[in-house]
Structures are given as C-alpha cells and as structure tokens.
Assembly symmetry: C2
Homo-oligomer: 110 residues x 2
DNA sequence: TTAATTCATTGCAATATTACGATTAATATT
DNA sequence: AATATTAATCGTAATATTGCAATGAATTAA
C-alpha cells in the first residue's frame, strides 16, 4: 500500500507524524540547522553546503515550505529562505508535548 | 533512488532523522502514546486499540523496538511492550535540542 | 538582444514504506 | 496429544520517497 490509513488516527497523531516526517531525512535536518545557524538567510548556498544536486535541494525546500516551517522570498535571480519562527514554535510545542510524555515513577513493567 | 545519502551528513543529523522517521507514521505515534498512557504495559491490545491488522502492528512494534524506544518481554502466549525510558530520554534530549534552536531577536530576513 | 545565473519543474529509475493474507512458532488449555 | 491463542515472519501489491539529468522560467549582466 505504501500509504498510511490516516483516517483511523486523531488529528494530533497525524500532525505529529507529518512534522516528524519532515525531519525524517538528514538533508532536511541539515537545511534547517543551517538556516538557524546563519541569521541572514541564504539559499543557493544550501546546494554547496549540503552537497546534493540542486533539484534535490529544491525538492526538500519545497516540502519544508509546504509545511510552513520555512519561507522563501525572491531576490533578483536568487531565492532567500529562512525559518518561519511562528510556525516553527507551533510545531515545536506539539512535538515537545509528545516527547515530554512521562511515566509514573514505578512503570516499565518489562 | 529512494535512499538517503547518509554518508554526506553528520552522525547527529542522521540520528535525528532516524528518530524522526520513527514518529513519521501515525500508527507509531499512537502506539507510543498508548504505551505511555497505560502504566501497566499491554500488547495485543494495541491491535484492537489502533485498528490495523496484527502483522502491521507487529511490524511497527519491530521498528520501535529496533530503535530501542520500546522493549518487549514474552509473557505466556502474549508479549508485553513498554517504553524504554532510558533510551526515550536520550532520544528526547537529542530531539529537544534540535527543536529548541533559536534565532537571534532580529532574524527572519524574508 | 544575447548570454549568464539561479532556481523550479518534469520525468524517470532505484529503493523504501505501508498494509495485510497466509503461514509459522511458541506457549496454554483441554 | 489435540486444540486454541498470541504474535512473529513471509510474500506480495500498492504507493511514497529519494536523487538527478534535462529542461524551463525569470531575472540580471553584457
């Protein structure tokens, strides 16, 4: 099948998985880290920085943009990408709550 | 190709992506949430709880177990799964650091 | 205008993922 | 022993993902 049966899960569960999937490729992790590192946001530099072909980077950027985690503005012939902090924070809250789940002191039956 | 060129990324980037991929399917998110919710850990109940076929759940459990996020012990004919808190915390630290990245006040050039 | 630059899009090949029926292995129950 | 229960594994179909060469669109530079 290759496709998840999203209809049987909660919106929250689907949302978590969608965000997680965005981080499920090292190139996208690297792109985001680089966009955080340089406070002025560059773009085509990502191709050199990451080391994948330009169409491949473009594709990864597209996914991140679709999720709202980054935004890009055209500047002459180049495009400037940067983190969308509002959406990033929203995503971060959702993911942090998921990761922050805790067991009672006893727990771990296995 | 369908496979990531992991060799061009740092260990950290690859590790983040591997953990993230584990959460990249709502069924695995649901499984983990359920294992957190019930402090006594059940197993075959997951099949009823989640609503996917038994082999499918078994496959998802296998992935989570491979990453060390859960552990399972045989009890009679059934298997008891639960969160591996030590590994979960380790993963949580890595992911939290990634998510916690912050920009300088100015930022957001776009 | 022509050429160069930058990036998006298209098309495709290779591989991965998801899901489940059928089967198997292991233990429990009768 | 025979049967039932539980869960792992195998095999397979459908779909998704990754990566890149080739191409196209837009802007800038000459």
């Amino acid at each position: 099948m290759g496709l998840a049966k999203t209809e049987i899960f909660t919106d929250e569960q689907n949302q978590i998985s969608v965000f997680a999937k965005a981080f499920g490729h090292p190139a996208r992790v690297a792109i985001l880290q680089h966009l955080f590192k340089i406070d002025t946001c560059f773009c085509g530099d990502l191709v050199k920085e990451i080391g994948l072909a330009q169409p491949t980077i473009s594709q990864h950027l597209k996914e991140l943009k679709y999720l709202g985690l980054i935004k890009g503005t055209v500047e002459g012939t180049s495009v400037c990408y940067c983190i969308d902090m509002a959406n990033w924070k929203e995503m971060k809250d959702i993911m942090t709550e998921f990761l922050g789940q805790d067991l009672l002191p006893k727990d771990e039956c296995c």
